[in-house]
C-alpha cells in the first residue's frame, strides 16, 4: 500500500505553528543576549589574574561542554525543585540555554582575547588606562570581531538545540509539531514542515547575526 502524502491537513494548525516559531525565536533571542553577556564575563574571569576565579570558570566551561544539553535541561527543570528552586517551563528552557551558550561563548571569546597582540595592552597601560578600561576599550572589540563567525555558528547550534525543550513542555516549534501530529496523525508531514521551518530560521539567524556583526565590529570582522 503506497502512502499518500497530505500536507493540506496542516493548514488548520497554522496558528499553532506560528506560535511555536515565535516562541523559538523568543527563546533564542533572550538566551543569545544573556548567554553572550555571560560569555564575555566568563572570558574576562578566565583570563583574569585572580587564579581561583579562572579555575572556577574553567570547571564550569568543561562541565557544560562535556554533558548533553538535554541532561542539563532535565537537571534544571526536574532536579532544581529539590533545592526549592521551581521554574516555569520557559524559564527553565531560557536558563539552560543561557548556561549552555555561556560556557561555549566563554571559550570562544577567550580565544579572541588570547589573540590580542601584547603590545596593544601595553599601549593601553602606558596611556594610564586601568585593567577594566583596557579590557573594555582595547581588547574586547577586536576580539569579538575576530570570533564573531564562530560565535554565530554556536548561536545557531543553540537555536537548533532548543528543539529538545519540547521535552519539558516549553511550547516552542518542536512542541507545536508534537502537538499537531498527536491530533492529525500525520507525523511525517508535520516533522518535515517543522524541519523546513528550522532550516529557514537557521538561515535567517545567520543573516541577522552577520548584519549585527558587520555593524558592531566593522573594523575587526575577519572575512572567514
Amino acid at each position: 500500500m503506497a502512502y499518500s502524502f497530505d500536507f493540506s491537513s496542516l493548514l488548520d494548525y497554522t496558528p499553532v505553528l506560528v506560535d511555536g516559531v515565535v516562541t523559538t525565536i523568543g527563546l533564542t533571542a533572550v538566551s543569545t543576549v544573556l548567554g553572550v553577556a555571560l560569555g564575555i564575563g566568563g572570558a574576562a574571569a578566565r583570563t583574569s589574574t585572580v587564579k581561583p576565579l579562572a579555575v572556577v570558570v574553567g570547571a564550569y566551561v568543561e562541565l557544560i561542554r562535556n554533558t548533553p544539553f538535554l541532561v542539563q535541561l532535565f537537571f534544571i527543570f526536574f532536579g532544581l525543585p529539590s533545592l526549592g528552586i521551581r521554574l516555569a517551563e520557559w524559564q527553565a528552557a531560557v536558563l539552560a540555554m543561557v548556561v549552555n551558550l555561556g560556557a561555549y561563548s566563554t571559550e570562544i571569546i577567550r580565544a579572541g582575547i588570547d589573540a590580542t597582540p601584547k603590545g596593544q595592552i601595553e599601549a593601553g597601560a602606558s596611556l594610564g588606562m586601568t585593567g577594566p578600561q583596557i579590557f573594555r576599550y582595547v581588547v574586547l572589540g577586536p576580539a569579538m570581531g575576530k570570533i564573531w563567525p564562530a560565535l554565530t555558528s554556536q548561536i545557531v547550534i543553540v537555536m537548533l538545540g532548543s528543539s529538545v525543550c519540547s521535552q519539558i513542555a516549553a511550547e516552542e516549534l518542536s512542541f507545536a509539531a508534537n502537538f499537531i501530529q498527536s491530533r492529525n496523525f500525520r507525523p511525517f508531514e508535520v516533522y518535515f514542515l517543522a524541519t523546513a521551518l528550522y532550516l529557514a530560521l537557521a538561515v535567517a539567524l545567520r543573516w541577522v547575526l552577520s548584519l549585527i556583526g558587520g555593524r558592531m565590529f566593522a573594523k575587526g570582522v575577519s572575512r572567514a
Partner: protein, 216 residues
C-alpha cells in the same frame, strides 16, 4: 514502599550507559565511512555531485538533530523499512555525523596547498589517485584533532535519541527518576557519566592539537 540505594541507581545507569557507548561507536564509525564518501562527493570534479553533497551538509547542519531523528523514525516505514528506536537512532545519528565530519574534513582537504593538486594532476593522476596518494594522507594529519573533538558531539547527540524511545543513559535516568523521585541525584549522576565519557575525548583532542602545532 521499595527503597533504592545509591548503588541500585548507579548500577542501573551504568548498565544503560553501555547502549550510549555502543550507539556512539556505531554512529561514529558508520558516520565516518558515510562522511568520507560525502567528502569525496563534496570535493569531486563533478558539479552535480558537489552541489548534492553541499545541500546534504547544509540541511543536516541547519536542522535540529531531534527533527532528523523524528523524520527518520517516521519516514523509514514509508519506504517499507520496519523501524525500531534502535535503527532510527543509528540511521539518524549516522547521517548527522556524516554531514559534520564531511564538513570538518573538507576544511582539512582545502588546507592542503593548491600546488599539490596541480603537481599530482601534472603527473596525470586521476582524481581517485590524487586523493588516495597525495591529498588525503596530508589532510589526515591535520584532521585527527578536530575529528576526535567532534566525537564528543556524537556522544552527547545520543542523549537526544532518548526522546524517540531509545533506552540509553538519559532515558534510563528518566525511568529511574519516575521510580525513585530523586531527580536531582539521578540527573546529576547521568551528567557525571556523560562527563566521564566525554572529558577524556576533549582532553585528547586538545593534546593532539597541541602536538600538531609543535610539529609544524
Amino acid at each position: 514502599m521499595l527503597e533504592f540505594t545509591l548503588w541500585d541507581i548507579l548500577s542501573n545507569l551504568l548498565l544503560a550507559a553501555r547502549w550510549t557507548v555502543l550507539l556512539s561507536l556505531i554512529a561514529f564509525v558508520s558516520g565516518g565511512v558515510a562522511g568520507l564518501l560525502l567528502l569525496l562527493a563534496r570535493v569531486s570534479p563533478l558539479p552535480p555531485l558537489r552541489v548534492a553533497a553541499k545541500l546534504f551538509i547544509e540541511v543536516f547542519q541547519g536542522t535540529p538533530l531531534l527533527m532528523q531523528l523524528f523524520i527518520v523514525f517516521f519516514a523509514l516505514p514509508l519506504i517499507g523499512i520496519e523501524t525500531s528506536a534502535w535503527t532510527a537512532a543509528a540511521v539518524g545519528l549516522t547521517l548527522f555525523t556524516a554531514a559534520y565530519l564531511a564538513e570538518i574534513w573538507r576544511g582539512c582537504v582545502e588546507a592542503v596547498p593548491k600546488g599539490q593538486w596541480e603537481a599530482s594532476a601534472s603527473l596525470a593522476m586521476t582524481f581517485a589517485e590524487q586523493m588516495r596518494h597525495v591529498i588525503l594522507p596530508q589532510a589526515l594529519r591535520i584532521a585527527v584533532p578536530p575529528t576526535v573533538g567532534f566525537s564528543v558531539q556524537v556522544v552527547k547527540g545520543t542523549a537526544v535519541t532518548s526522546i524517540i524511545g531509545f533506552v540509553e543513559v538519559t532515558k534510563a535516568g528518566t525511568m529511574i527518576t519516575n521510580a525513585t523521585f530523586q531527580p536531582f541525584l539521578v540527573y546529576g549522576l547521568v551528567g557525571l557519566i556523560y562527563f566521564a565519557l566525554c572529558y577524556p575525548l576533549s582532553l585528547s583532542a586538545k593534546a593532539l592539537e597541541r602536538k600538531l602545532n609543535v610539529a609544524r
